[in-house]
Structure formats: C-alpha cells, structure tokens
Amino acid sequence: MRKIISFFSALGLYAIFFWFVSTSALEKTIDFTIYKQYYRVILNGWITTLTISAVSLVLALFVGLVLYFMRESKFKIFVYLSEIHKTIIFGTPLVVIAIIAYYYIGNAFNIDSKFWIGALTLALYIGAYIADIYKGAIESIHINQWQTAKMFGFTRYQTYRYIVFPQVITSILPPLAGQFAMTIKSSALLAYMSTDEFLNAIQTVQSISFRYPEGFLLVTVGYLVLTIPLILLVRMLEKKLNYKVNHEIEN
C-alpha cells in the first residue's frame, strides 16, 4: 500500500511540475481540436513508427549477428569491416547518418522507399550495439563448454546452435528489450528524412495549426505508450533472470 501511495505521490509531483510549466510559459489554452481532425494521419504515423521499429529490430538482430561473426572471423578484412562500421556508428549522431543515408546513399542506389531506407538505417545503427550485446553474452559462456563441444566432435555451427545460443538467449533478452525501446525513440530522428512516422505526422499538424505544445504532449504520450511496456518488460526479465542465476548459485 505504501508503495502505491509513494508511486502516485511521485506521479503527482511530476504533474504539478508540468502544470506549472504549461500555465507559466503558455499563453494559449490547451486545445486538441485540430489534432482530433487529423487523428488518422497521426495514428498512421504512430503505426509507422511501431512498424519501422519492429522491422528495424528484426533486421538489427541479423545485422548484429553478422557483425559479431565478422569480428570473430579468421579473415582480417571482415574484422576491420566490422570494427570500422561500429566505430562510425558509435561516433556519429543518428540524425547525421539518417540524412546521409536518405539523401546520398539511398539516392546513389536508387532506393526511393523512405520506409525501407529508414528501417535499414536504423537496423545498421542498432545492429552495431546488438553485436556488442551478443559478444558479451557469448563470451560469458565458459571456455570449458567450448572445449567440451570440441572434444565431443561438435562442429562450429552445432556448438553455436545447440550449446551457445540456447544459453545466451535468456541473458540477451533484457538488453534486447531495452534496445527495442531505444529503436522506437531513435526512429523519431527519421523525421529528418521525411519518413511518415509519428513525429513527422505531428510536426505536419503543428505547422498548419501552430498548436505546438499540444503536439509535443501527444508525441510524449505516444512514445511513452510504446516504451513503458518495454521498460517494464526489461525489469521483469532482469528480475526473473536474476532469480534464476541466484537460484543456480544457491544450488
């Protein structure tokens, strides 16, 4: 009970803060009428954000795996290709990459679909981070298990398929869910390449109505609806996994 009271008190404090900000900084009253009129455009944008994020994540899971195996390859060229990709991604803002991808790379390869350029850009971006998630999880598999697999004659593929991946899948789920939340947030930057996603849809309505605060409020709520369940999922998975690890140590 005390927990619930504390939670709603904290929520109340935030509500007071934002109420204070909106009443002191804004002259106009809050009016969502125009947004109601354009609700289809906004809803479509929201669905595009969700779709683009989901497609990007699925692609990023694959990109991450490819980058990981390139990093582990015997051929140095693959190692460097993977490392250079990761260095560029880690060191460049997504918005810059999004603009270059759309206006230059997409153009050079005659790819017109904003959706696919957006999804691919996000996948290549998030994939670099996911490669590191795989790396951390796979390296946590004890050397003894690799040696046992080798001793019994498992091939490299069989070792990954039957021994490594079934073990790492549980430990990568929480960071992957976190990464999915990040993908959803990052997809907002695709507005810079005029993808018809959520932020761009809201910005369109803002520019015709000049009702900016309402738009930002909707954007915030729209993203929170998507990301809060993921944040809760990460916490739940971490708690569950933590319990499992402790349980195994106790035994």
Binding site: F152, G153, F154, E248, N251
Partner: protein, 240 residues
Amino acid sequence: MKLRIDRLIKTYENKRILDDLTLALDDKQVLALIGASGSGKSTLLRMISGLEAFDSGQIVVNGHEVVESEDADYRKRIGFVFQDHNLFPHLSILENILLVLEKVHGRMRSDVLPEVEALLEQFGLSEHRHKKPHQISGGQAQRASIVRALAIKPDLILLDEPTSSLDPILTHEVLNAIKVLVEASIDFIIVTHEIGFAREVADTIVFMDDGKIIEHGTPEILETPQSPLLKAFLDKVLSF
C-alpha cells in the same frame, strides 16, 4: 590400447610443458598418469585427445596418428571426462548424453534411448535423468559425465583428474563408477592424485615431473620406486 608417444615437445611462453616425452605401450587397458600439479600430466592427456596441438613429436593411438587439434573424426571415437564434469548447464542429464549421440554421431533418439537409460540405471542416475547439472551433487554430475563419455562407445576414454574437485565421500562414489569401466574391459587413461586407486586399477603407471616421464611400468613401481623423484613424491602423498 596401443599408445606410441615419440619425442613429444610442447612449449608455452618459453617454458617446456612437455619435454621430449617418449613412451610405448601395447595391449594395455588402464594407464594412470601420476605426478605433482604442473608436471604436465593433464597437458599430455589433452594432446592425446587431439584437443590441443603440440610443437613437435608424434602421438599414435591404436594406429591413428594424432596430427593436430582439428582432428574431429578421431575425437568422436574418444570419450573424455573433464575435471569439473563440464556437463552443458542448460540441458538435463539425459539430454546431455542424447545431444552428443544425435547431433554428432547422427543416431536416432529412439534407437539409442534404451541403451542410454540402461547406462543411467547402471550408474545409479535413473531418478536424476531429467534434472539439470546444478540440481545434482558433484559426484552424480561426474558419474553422468562418465556415462556421456561411455555412451558414444569410444575406443578409449580419457579421464582428467575426475575426482579432484570432490570431497572424500563423492570421490569414493566416482572411483567406484570408474571401476565399472575396468570390469567392462574398457580402455582408459586417467590422470589422478588417487595413488591407491591407480595401484588398484591400472596395469601401467606413468610418473611425470616437470614435463618429463621419470618412471613408468607396472603398479609395482609404486612399491619399489627406482627414481628419487618418485620416491619423494610417494613419501609426500602417502605421508597423511
């Protein structure tokens, strides 16, 4: 087993771990490698298994020359029991055994299941077969590891200090399980600190010190050691 080791050398960070080893055994069933920690026994066992490459020399097991670490077909015919059982933690005891038989040896589950169940019964593990390794004792896990090695019907089983991480009661339990291998006339090489056990089951004892084979022969060498190093080793080991 037939084992030929000829001028075997392994160097690691400028230190000779195995220093010009030569050994020839014919028609022996149980070979025990003894010696102090760091003497090179486990390294030699791993070279024989084909798990690790050596710098120079030759190892021939039952007529097959162990060339290098990529000798997968040879390793499929060798059973290995590791010091810490090394069962795959995400699989049950039964699945640990079946995975090797199904995926590596291409056997049908329905064909091998009766044999595996019988082995688990023989080693007193039937009631634990659906448990994960962390749910059973160290002794049970090590016995399961022996069953896993045995289930592939190997030409030779290699055991690397199988009792060194166990307490005396569990050690006794695992040594009894290894005696089953002796009774079943299965060839094996064991690295062990259990001198009494080695004397009881082995037909050949090899004593190593500082990467060299100092003395080898029948278990009688433990009664009347010729070299001062083996004598000193036995005095230390048997003084308690």
